[in-house]
């Protein structure tokens, strides 16, 4: 870890004015700083800002303070009642200790767990732009099959963000100039392309203050995570699903995926294949086809393609009550 200046902010406005890297829970940032993958010159401690409430809005939606710890969010009565997919996703992630420290805003900004990103002796375009991608042609079991580029095949590691994407979350920010922005989670993350080091739409010094959720969606909700250990492991594949069935037909569907891409993945084609259809394995298979049409394995992660197909079909059966 390189040394840095440290300042504690006492308001969001002061935080953005301080001009530094924000630290809240720190569970990802400090790990990366220890390895000198992140080397901020200044840390602005936002951990004590008054942004740790979950509030129900008049429209029935939720406004979640960016500093709400993951464990508190998972246990929040509004979340449990209206957004079980989010509670389940949070509880599927990390450990009790980490969830107690990790913040909602920070969770969205987690960086990839790609082995080579973490290994400063190896080339990585995300860590050192232009140095190359060691994962392509290397060991890539946990890495992406969708949205990859010739420069990067990293995955986004969050579970929470996958549920947020299925829930159409909106990320509310404060910029150093005092402007506020509302960014749909669908626009928040960037594909790697030629700039894998740029992961989100956030501008320099822009602070996430809240995450807004629309009113609870209709239908069944599910979060299913597949991993190598029974607990305390990142997703190989995960599915956040929200599906409603009316009059025997799928009326609405929101499906987002973890472990597949550089961002929590959501593809309108999947939902288009479902909506208006009577639930059946053939329909589910068509949805899987739509999801995986562009999927590309890199050797040790090829299995994610058939695995995702199976998990999606099983999840849709559960969400629609259809049997095999």
């Amino acid at each position: 870890m390189k040394t840095f200046d440290y300042a504690r902010a006492d308001s969001p406005e002061a935080a953005v004015a301080a001009g530094g890297r924000f630290i809240a829970g720190g569970t990802n940032l400090l790990d990366l700083m220890k390895l000198q993958i992140e080397t901020p010159e200044k840390l602005v401690d936002i951990s004590r800002l008054d942004l740790a409430q979950v509030e129900r809005r008049e429209d029935g939606g939720l406004t979640i303070g960016a500093l709400v710890p993951n464990s508190d969010l998972a246990a929040n009565a509004h979340v449990v009642d209206g957004y079980p997919v989010l509670a389940r996703a949070l509880l599927a992630g990390a450990s009790g200790q980490l969830r107690n420290k990790a913040s909602t805003g920070g969770n969205l900004l987690q960086r990839t767990r790609c082995y080579y990103f973490y290994d400063t002796a190896m080339a990585c375009n995300k860590r050192a732009p232009g140095s190359g991608c060691s994962a392509i042609g290397g060991y890539n079991r946990i890495l992406a099959i969708l949205g990859t580029s010739a420069q990067c095949i990293a995955t986004h590691p969050s579970d929470m963000a996958v549920a947020m994407r299925a829930l159409d979350a909106v990320i509310v920010t404060l910029k150093p100039d005092g402007d506020r922005r509302r960014i749909s989670i669908h626009d928040f993350y960037r594909l790697p392309g030629d700039t894998p080091q740029i992961e989100t739409d956030l501008e320099a010094g822009e602070l996430i203050t809240h995450i807004d959720l629309p009113p609870p969606p209709a239908g069944q909700q599910l979060y299913r995570k597949v991993r190598d250990r029974a607990s305390y492991a990142f997703a190989l594949v995960s599915v956040a699903g929200i599906v409603s069935v009316e009059d025997g037909k799928i009326a609405s569907a929101a499906l987002a995926f973890g472990g597949l891409g550089p961002m929590p993945w959501r593809d309108p084609a999947v939902e288009a294949a479902l909506i208006g259809q009577a639930p059946s394995d053939a329909v589910f298979a068509a949805a899987a086809d739509a999801l995986l049409a562009e999927a590309k394995g890199f050797g040790s992660n090829d299995f994610k393609i058939p695995l995702t197909r199976r998990v999606l079909i099983a999840s849709l059966r559960e969400l629609t009550g259809a049997s095999a």
């Binding site: 440290y6 700083m33 079980p84 509670a87 509880l91 450990s95 980490l98």
Partner: protein, 163 residues
């Protein structure tokens, strides 16, 4: 800066880069909290800050001004064991002992979470929790034990929790 550790106010001027774990071990001399990975991947460094269990390796000491810190040394001593500590001895909930303080601190925090009604990944219902073996296992999975006293750890915690 100062913080309260196990009921006593401590003054410290740590390196700005120092983790809370390193300050406890190297500056305050409380070596009961262990460093197993220094990266939040093993749980050996688990302590309670303001009543919540966290990984002390992944937090800067400087961010804990005025916080109330509880380490294994504050939970009980060798001649005055906390019920969880006594249960770990009785059920052999350890072998080498290195992960043990973290396990016990984690268990203290975990039982409090259960008391608050927090569900876990394996809870069938998100709003009602019955603490059984699988619940304890899931909730304690952030604490690795390579000697693998896991079944004994579950037994020890079950006894104290009345589960």
């Amino acid at each position: 800066m100062h913080f309260t550790i196990n009921g006593t106010v401590h003054e410290a001027e740590p390196d700005i880069r120092a983790s809370l774990l390193d300050v406890l071990r190297e500056h305050v001399g409380l070596t009961g909290t262990k460093k197993g990975c220094d990266r939040g991947q093993c749980g050996a460094c688990t302590i309670l800050v303001n009543g919540r269990r966290i990984n002390s390796c992944l937090t800067l000491a400087v961010m804990h001004q005025d916080d109330d810190i509880l380490t294994i040394e504050g939970i009980g001593s060798a001649d005055n064991l906390h019920p969880l500590q006594a249960a770990f001895v009785k059920h052999d909930g350890y072998q080498c002992g290195y992960c043990t303080p973290g396990q016990i601190c984690s268990a203290v925090g975990m039982l409090d979470e259960v008391k608050k009604g927090w569900a876990s990944h394996v809870s069938a219902d998100l709003d009602s929790v019955t603490l059984d073996g699988p619940e304890i296992s899931e909730r304690m999975s952030g604490n690795l034990c390579r000697c693998s006293a896991y079944p004994n750890i579950v037994d020890a915690i079950s006894e104290v929790a009345g589960a």
